[in-house]
Amino acid sequence: MTIVIAAGIALGAGVLASFLRLRAPLAATLVGLGGLAAVAFAAVAIGPDDVLPFGSVQIVGSDLLRAIGLFWAISAAGLVAIDALGIGSHAVAGPALLGIGAAILALGATNGEASFAFLAAGGVATVVAPAAAAGRSRAAVAWRALRTVVIAGFLGLGVIAWESSPAGPLGAASLEPGADRAAAAAIGLGLIAIVTAVAMRAGAIPTHVWAARLVEAIPMAAIPAALAWGGATFAIVASSWAVAALGPSAAAIGPERTVVAIIAAATLLLGSAAAFVHDDVEHVVGYSIVADAGVVLLAFAALDPAVARPLGAWVLGYATVKSALAGWAAAARGRFGVRRLPDLRGWARRSPVLGIGLVLVLVGAVGLPGTAANAARARLVALASDPPFEVILLAAAVLPIAVIGRLLVAGWQTPSPHVADDPGDSSFRERPRLVAPALLVVALAIVGLVASLGVGSIGGPVIDVPQPSALPGT
């Protein structure tokens, strides 16, 4: 019952905040912050024993659901506050709450089709609402994102429905290599289709164009809900189904899994490269999130039941840390009023507190040896690849040093004219609103580090995979 309470609070507060934003933006932010606090408290009570029957389907709690609900709510609250104090779009709380509510229901439902439909609904809210609030020219960009999110959700739903129907291949049971080529091809097609849905939703390469456009169109603080958390929960649901339904036939679909591994590696490496070369800070944040989605895709290349726990730990760590990175970008934007890195030169000299926040984000993004997120990434790489390939993917783990290090280096250069006028953190007593976002970034980065450390046992969601049966009515 706690799951439904948490989802109900999130959805109710999200709708209220979205409506209030039109007439009373500050009230929308306050309602949003209250709703996020309530969701965080409710999420703490979610556990594996929390089961709510809904017809023949159940909504079941899990440790991962609790962790995602809690950390998403805390991260979103920090981002809402940073946005309100700095940029003032007031368009972050409503979409984040709607996304959290949909994700809670999706991760709790034991019916994969229902999960994907909920995620499509939540995705629309997190993508469209911030863009609609950003003005006419930005709203135009959201059409492509809206289309992608809906197609991804219902592609996932369609794949599950087809694979488990009498028209699908799951009736062929577990396949040995060469046992039944037609069924193996159909199962391989199912894997490619579900990975396509995940790649579309997470903005993985080569389906990243909508995500690259979207990050230009929505407030910086809204990016994590739209891309990091939204894509991650989508991947968790898809992975739970894929491992349960397609995993037993993994040996028969080797070529398809290789293709998935290549897509994952390309996303990881090219995403990091794109984040490194771009000067626009929102592109750095966006591509950094896209690169982390590459690690998520490795779970589909492995198709091993052992991916569930590392995937949960990784998702929790990267989504929280990238929320802190987006928080840094939003705070820098709100404070200095510019978005390009050359214009941000010297930012850390003016705001050492913001600099400390970004250093903590760097530590979380690279991962400390021994932390849950670091071990999870290594485990996912090991499950999905063999030694030569594995070394390359593990080496890619240090790429955030280059990406975030570039931001830090720019921070210590001679201040640009945009930054030089800033009174600095020492003016905290006279202008507390100036420094408060930087302090919030430090807090968000610490939350990210805590999430990366691991929060105990992280069991994933349970999705029933229906056994093939005769068509209804026959």
């Binding site: 809210a125 020219s137 492509r144 809206l146 809906v150 429905a161 026959t474």
Partner: protein, 237 residues
Amino acid sequence: MTVALVGVAVVAILGAIAAVSAREARLALTGLVVALVAAPFVADPLPDIRVLALRVVGGVLAAQLLWPAVRAGVVREGGSLLGWRAEALLATAAAICGWAIAASLAGTPTGVDLPPGLSTIGPLDPAAVRVAAPAAAGLAILALAATPVLVPPDPVRLGLGLLLLVEGVTLLQSGLGGAAEPLEQLAIVAALVAVAAGVAALSRTLDTGAATAAHPISGAGHAADAATGAEPVTPNS
């Protein structure tokens, strides 16, 4: 019951044809309402009355959410890019394919590989119609949704296409795998309403009476690029 099932499926397809091909936006929206309301009834046995009520209310609400955008004139008058005849033929072909696939599966005992063309029941057998009607309607509606989703002439028609896509997938799933669970029905209604609300919100932002030609979807990216430097950010410093 069989005739009624086929009749409702035909009504849903006709509604979808009107939704994608009508020149006048109001007629397109009326077609959408017909398709969204009729689709849940393309099932044998019918779902629980509460589920039916939920789907009907959800469909009407989704269409209602699009109404302000239609009234504001965001829709390009001109109908389908293909024309209604081509759309109708496309839907008919897709419906025949869907019917044939589902009827063939219905006549094949589970776990038995029959030679092609052999089936234990005919395509018009009531047991086959029970699964073939939703599958045919689903595939037809999916085919109709393809054009407005992939080549959207205007924002609202993209919304119409996305709503039909959701409905088409749901119907196809119902035909191939059986009726959706109540929780899934709830989730589908949530998706329908979310898509319609999203389209309405974007349309409201895009247009306060300006000509639709000023904001074609294909030029969206360039529009954002042009506005990149003009984002209203007020630094605190």
